[in-house]
Amino acid sequence: MLSYLLPLIWLTSGFYMEPQTSAIARLPLTTRAEMIARAHKLANHTWVCGAANLKASCSKRYVSDWKAGQHITGIPYAWGGIDGLEEFDNKLAKGLAAGGHSRYGVLACTAGIDCSGFVTYCWGMGLKNHAYSTSNLRQIAGKPKYNWFTDMKPGDVLNKAGSHVVMFTGYNPDGTINVCEASGSAARVICHKTTWSRYKGYIPLQYKAIDE
């Protein structure tokens, strides 16, 4: 009888952890306030585009979004990029190109961040590699059970696999929402007010290692 019960005791004792659970345990803990602070830092970071930052040494097809000497607020959008503030400033100083879009490919000679890189950076994930995209973000973020039209919390995201992801930062009295995102069309990280209809078909997700 005991032989039947032992596995059950082991499973319920807390010693057993599913592989998924242990992977989650390795995720960096972060608070919601830290997530939003990181998002605003990326959106409010000011920089000046130098002449060297207009060209991408590894691509002949590259066309910059910027002009030499232009003062910009917000880390530039770079498809496939995941640079934080320091990494971006260092790369800019080294003469790498500021930002880039998918039409030029993922370029090692550009600096900036894309939509999924932005979200995972705000969640406190490492900058070593771009491990998560909108397609596998659910490995580190679960679908919440709450009503997302009323109970989303700052730091949760709206994700559309294979397409785009934005970070929710708050509701407005008129029922619209505020989000921060690495936007390709705005060519940089921005925070702005928007309507729900722009996120039809998106799925709300919550980072699995929030220090609430």
């Binding site: 066309v63 998918s102 039409r103 939509c115 039209f149 009323t150 992801v165 008129d174 309507t195 729900w196």
Partner: protein
Amino acid sequence: MKRLHSVLLAIVLLAVVTSGARGGQPGPPTEVRAVPQTRAVRIPLKPLSLPDVAQSSNADAGTLLFTPGAEDELPEGPDGFDVLEDGNILITDPLRDSISMFDAQGKFKGAWKIGFAADSITALASGLILVREANTGQLHAFDREGKPRPAEGAVLPQPAEARILGEQSGTVARQGGGTIEVQFDQPGLRLLSLESLGTDAQGNTYVAMETTAGGSGSEDVNLNKYIRKYSADGKLVSEVVKVPLDYYIVPVDELRVRKGVVYQLTSDKLEVRINVWDMN
């Protein structure tokens, strides 16, 4: 006894009548006109061809450029527009650093080479046209011919304040004073958001509202969008039911109202579409 009943009935009737008129509340429900889509202005999209990036400004001037995006990147292209008093339509063409003008039927009338990617256009009553630079958020001013004008002190008009009060109600401030009380009584649906689209010269106010049946349990964010017209005395007059939300390029400027006509910017892989509803 009979006389007492008559007096009580009169008091009750008077109370009902006066309660509806107090504080700008809408009166008894009247028939609301459902407005079908009047027409659509269609403008062809052309995919950006990389070798032609530098020359693209002169190619296919009657089209608008787009990029399809990729995994983790949304399509990019025309996402801002406005309609002038004469019915001409201005649309951003950010991949050409220009703004294109079309007539009310969609015939190409010309392009302004503005030298930056724009994502929003606002035609002011003063005649100035404010254009927002997508990459910086900076406002630039132009006249009706596309000539640059000083933009110092230029500010975008802010929409009148709106407020959600509950699952079925909210308020929208009228430009010029007063408040519209919005009631949304559809079984199983709740009001999500309210947005003032403006008040016309006759005092009619146009309101965009988002509604939903879900919010939890359902697989993704799902909602509908309506546009309503309220008369100067706060009565709901007409309504556009279920505005299309199948954006390909996500619009920054989605809705505009000019002379009682509602315009919506949307697109698919082949064309930009301006949906038109005449609410007059």
